[in-house]
Symmetry: none
Subunit: 228 residues, 4 copies
Amino acid sequence: MSATPTKTRTASTRAPSARRTGVREQAAQTTRDNILKAAIKVFARYGYEGGSVEKISKAAKSFDRMIYYYFGSKEGLFIEVLEEIYRRMNDAETALDIRLDTPVEALKAVVRFVSQYYRKHPEFVTLLNTENLHKGKHISKSLRAREYSSPAVSVIEQVLAAGVASKEFRADLRARDLYLLIASMGYFYQSNRYTLSAFLGEDIDQPEAVAHWDDFMIDTVLRTVRAA
Amino acid sequence: MSATPTKTRTASTRAPSARRTGVREQAAQTTRDNILKAAIKVFARYGYEGGSVEKISKAAKSFDRMIYYYFGSKEGLFIEVLEEIYRRMNDAETALDIRLDTPVEALKAVVRFVSQYYRKHPEFVTLLNTENLHKGKHISKSLRAREYSSPAVSVIEQVLAAGVASKEFRADLRARDLYLLIASMGYFYQSNRYTLSAFLGEDIDQPEAVAHWDDFMIDTVLRTVRAA
Amino acid sequence: MSATPTKTRTASTRAPSARRTGVREQAAQTTRDNILKAAIKVFARYGYEGGSVEKISKAAKSFDRMIYYYFGSKEGLFIEVLEEIYRRMNDAETALDIRLDTPVEALKAVVRFVSQYYRKHPEFVTLLNTENLHKGKHISKSLRAREYSSPAVSVIEQVLAAGVASKEFRADLRARDLYLLIASMGYFYQSNRYTLSAFLGEDIDQPEAVAHWDDFMIDTVLRTVRAA
Amino acid sequence: MSATPTKTRTASTRAPSARRTGVREQAAQTTRDNILKAAIKVFARYGYEGGSVEKISKAAKSFDRMIYYYFGSKEGLFIEVLEEIYRRMNDAETALDIRLDTPVEALKAVVRFVSQYYRKHPEFVTLLNTENLHKGKHISKSLRAREYSSPAVSVIEQVLAAGVASKEFRADLRARDLYLLIASMGYFYQSNRYTLSAFLGEDIDQPEAVAHWDDFMIDTVLRTVRAA
DNA sequence: CATGAATGAGCTTTCATTCAT
DNA sequence: CATGAATGAAAGCTCATTCAT
């Protein structure tokens, strides 16, 4: 590893200050952003080992050296990538407008959101798989990643509470479990679609198959949640 | 297992001859097996790119060259690794003794089996993730992999049919969907345990957490399956 | 190099005996011949370094080991390849039926033969180039190669003498020089046809171009040879 | 020579920038030149396959990596080697001072130049042979190589025209053919000197033999060219 | 006679990273 | 701020050859 070990934020890696940004800072910001965006694509496609520094710098139309300038190391860049994709999902979740007065519909909306998010953001799925391959060693170095978890579960918590209040949902269900159920079904279908297609002998990416799975997800979740 | 080589092997990669096995043939078989076993471990731990030929040959106490001698290329080895882990799961599934006269118990047993299999064989999970990262390019080159799918789904099919016959299970459920539900919940929990632990702020590998999830899986599956 | 240095013929490399050949010997002869023929093709196409033992054994539908069995080493095989192509050219030359009573026609025939031989045997040309790249180190180890030179020059010697006798050809010309002139023109055109085509901007392999060059060769040779 | 880089260079291989050359740029230029010069020697001596990247980088007192930095690949380096040797010959040819008022002497000078050039630049000969072994696949990728052909032929064209004008040379002779005749005789003698020496049983590299061949070349060319 | 298995050095190329302006 | 140049380790793979029946 380098002399200055990878950290969440070091003196040598520049994060453009949040205060008034001049022309200089903006150009730097652009370079930094380009690298981060390119890194998301490249790591998502090739994994951590397969995603070489050169591939990333080329995709960002920048230079290898710039990665070290802004992120300190390949590992530092990967950590920021993870933070970024968590932030993005968190942002999307926060933007969700859930009507708690109709709990069933609200829950359906949540399921649809999760399913769609994984489908539209395959990089999120492959990056998490990559990180799990590495036993979470990068995410554990990030102070920020943790912050993004609560909203995800808490949305479900609210919906669940509303449903219990209206007696549509049963009371003995943990929001965490419900969250995991929804995530499982959405994630697995997207994450393993290549081996599943080979294994099942059908292309599970076909629109009808996808729509069918979404319906099944909703049905399963509602059966799990509904009060007896 | 590999005693009956029903493989489509290219002319350039050696499969120990099927005829009377002398001392040398057996030694060769051992070398080949050692490499394959080592490859499963190494690829599972480091992924495809990270799992270098040297790491594998060292773990197998053999030489790089032997990998090319027996498997033609790193890719060829990886394909056989995938075939092997599918075969192993298939074997384990086939060994399952399911009592169809008690469908509910049978279904519970299936769920427990799947959950346990993923838990006890983390290499199966990471290898499939790796293969999905590569968009299934290796599995699609294997003629054998497909053969192993039918048993997995057909066991569930039988249990489901038995439950429908006894009127315990509803009739409008596809075995494929039920299989995917069970697999989703078992797989995701194992596959993403590192990021989930960081995300949820709890170690989901703890025995109680695992047991709780198993119960929840069974409960969810039964609620999905049960006749109104 | 091996412990028993490469020689023209060693105890360890088998040359099937010339006496009564049984079935066994014939099979061996075939294997040996196949290897030799394959080696000519492979060395001619890929050069000495590029022509790997494996390429040759595969082309011969045999095994690497057989090359060592019959030829001792890669170098030993290459030496026999050189001997073989010289022998072949010698045989073709010997088969030439030259009518010495018409010296001009005889000389034309010789020129055409040389030109055609190089054209029809590109492997002869590339193999000699390869050997010259290695500064003739292999041919110098061969006792046989030298035997094949005399006929080539002596045919020209005879034609030249006949022409001098009939006063059609001048007397102050060495057969060796005439041989070299003919060989030069025929060889260079074939040997360098790729770079020449690129260099001159025309495909010198076209039939008309070839015919034109043959005519020019004959014309040049006759102008060189003819008595004032 | 390489001061004016008129090259078609890919984006990934570095050509020292043309702007004001600082200390560093000059050092880089030196590294590049050292590699190119070393490559000419090594490829000329060992051929393309035999000329390993390591041999070249060592001869250049640099590193393997630098070859890829500057030339992209071994093949890219070889292409530049071919371009370089063509350029060198072209430069030498351009420097030739031919007096067209004495066509016979001018032609003799050309023949002597060609003969000497091949003799003094054996690397030119072996590199072309190597390229022809590869069927011209590298030269065909070079846009530049073609540019160097015209001068070679056009010098002869001019001499031929002058001789025709003075009625010393015959008019029905193509410059291209004359060029090929001269090149053939000069090239073949140099290219095949090892096998020829073995074949003829004399060392054709001896000064007297060389001088004799030069005389014979001139004599042959003049006989071919002279007006009846 | 014939051949599968083994071996270690070597190949071209790519890797993440640091140096020196 | 930015970037060309340099570096050595390691990657996947092929090499000619020998071992052991």
